[in-house]
């Protein structure tokens, strides 16, 4: 009795295995083994920050491409890219480390709220409806679409300011938050030497008076910073200043002259050592290039 069961089940199993084997041979799709190798190295975050659908897509594109120019895994950074380059026998293309920057500093106190939003707590849905809870229609809404989009827990809404904040240690510059922000407030900027960077923390396009009325910390497009800049790094368009991070030498003169405090400096030592620091920065900048 038992024997019959064992034999018949064994036979079924054997035949099934044979069919599976034949099918796998017949329908096999050739895949470059290097794709799997590359994928092994990649961080497997599948964040899409590289512009490809997940790490697999990126690996396939790397293998297919002639040179690695323009390919960057923002999560793994230069480290991972150099490993990828070794596997593929291609040249490493140095990449500049970037970081996400929230360009709004209209805190709850500087930008008084004049209405209350009572819909789904989503920036995209709120911004489809109207400009926001303050008189500034360009500022951060603070409902956290960027927070949801971040796969690395690097962005959060500061409860006292009501504005998104980036934890630069965790930020991998994948760009998910840039896409998620309906107000286009978040920008990827060069991380800068020792993480030092200067940027205009405002994107409002209203004229000076209106902007100032809506938010005490708004950029009013006054051009003082532009006049101060020796490196031609600042442009003013639509009543708002923008600092080109490739031209900026981090001298911080613009920060000092801004009447509304809209230009922010990050990770600089206190002001006293300004001159010395500026030099150090300049040299390291040239080294980088």
């Amino acid at each position: 009795m038992i024997l019959i069961a064992v034999v018949s089940l064994g036979a079924i199993g054997f035949v099934g295995a044979g069919i599976l084997y034949l099918a796998s041979k017949k329908f096999e799709v050739y895949e470059d083994p290097r794709i799997a190798q590359v994928q092994e190295i990649l961080p497997a975050a599948n964040c899409g920050g590289c512009g490809y659908p997940g790490c697999g897509g990126f690996a396939a594109a790397c293998v297919k491409a002639d040179s690695l120019d323009g390919f960057l895994c923002p999560v793994g950074g230069a480290d991972v890219m150099s490993q990828v380059a070794t596997i593929l026998g291609k040249e490493v293309v140095a990449a500049v480390p970037m970081v996400a920057v929230v360009r709004c500093n209209g805190t709850c106190s500087s930008r008084p709220r004049n209405n209350q939003y009572d819909g789904i707590k989503s920036c995209t849905i709120a911004s489809n409806l109207y400009g926001g809870e303050s008189a500034c229609t360009n500022g951060c809404l603070g409902y956290g679409d960027c927070v949801v989009s971040c796969a690395f827990d690097a962005i959060s809404i500061n409860p006292t300011t009501g504005i998104a904040e980036v934890d630069e240690a965790k930020c991998t510059s994948c760009g998910a938050c840039v896409k998620a922000c309906p107000k286009a407030i978040i920008e990827l900027r060069k991380k800068g030497p020792k993480s030092r960077r200067i940027f205009v923390s405002c994107i409002n396009k209203d004229k000076g008076a209106a902007a100032k009325k809506a938010c005490a910390n708004a950029c009013i497009g006054c051009s003082l910073c532009k006049k101060q800049c020796e490196f031609d790094a600042i442009t003013i368009e639509n009543n708002v200043a923008y600092i080109d991070y490739n031209k900026c030498r981090l001298c911080r003169k613009c920060v000092a002259v801004c009447p509304t405090g809209a230009i922010h400096e990050l990770n600089f030592p206190p002001r006293k050592e300004k001159v010395v620091e500026a030099k150090v920065v300049e040299t390291s900048e040239t080294e980088n290039k």
């Binding site: 209350q116 819909g119 409806l129 809870e133």
Partner: protein, 319 residues
Amino acid sequence: MENNLYVSPSPHIHGGDSVSKNMYGVLIALLPALLVSLYFFGLGALIVIVTSVVACAAFEFIIQKYLMKQKASLCDGSAVLTGLLLAFNLPSNLPIWIILIGALAAIGIGKMSFGGLGNNIFNPALVGRVFLLISFPAQMTTWPTPGVFPMTYTDAQTGATVLTAMKEGATTLPSYADMLLGNMGGSLGEVGAIALLLGFAFMLWRKIITWHIPVSILATVAVFAGIMHLVDPVAYVDPCVQLLSGGLLLGAIFMATDYVTSPMTHGGMIVYGIGIGILTVVIRLFGAYPEGMSFAILIMNAFTPLINSYMKPKLFGDK
């Protein structure tokens, strides 16, 4: 004054309907059947109902508060409803400890493990009932005989239900009048046909449910059982007995119409109802168990997502 106006997307008014209104509406609809059960099963019915309702509410509160760390949503009345429906599906002489296990299965396994109200796949009360039916078949299938406000509980005199009697080949059945009023053995809430129909009418009037599910179930059972009766009148009883016996009315009106586990479109509801009807009759006539309603509903619950994805609402412009 204008500062701090509220801003939200349209619509700016709400109809005032709420989850708790619907749940309490169903509870009100269950009242006539509750009174019938108290009349015929007396003290036992009262103990079973109170135990089941309190246990279900307590389990929901404890699980939400301490396991899921959510705000407890007891006030919406859904746990109380589950408790009452579970009690309605139990014999009135069931010991308290078994009821507690049933309540835990209903709330813990049937509802909370899926994420609470709205996320469960199966009707929680039926999960509890079937859990008990399989675990304690003896206690779950001895039904007290009805009396007039009997003051007995586990010591009640027991007898067979219509369906078990038929399964065992009995020939004498209660009269139609007894079946309509509820003067027969059975789970405590399923006996009073008229009381259950009153509840149905109330829910239709309050627009809590639509007619589609109950009517399609009852019609299917009547037609299917009717055909079987015509084929062999000796082996299969007439469809009226099928309709009035067992948990058919209770199931069709109160259990199968559970919002969460039934299809969303009217077409889907009819398919679902026909499925339940056929399965019930098949289990009753050809299966090992005398009663098939609970199993039929649970099986069709599992098909609900599938029905939902095939039975789409009729799109504007397709006419």
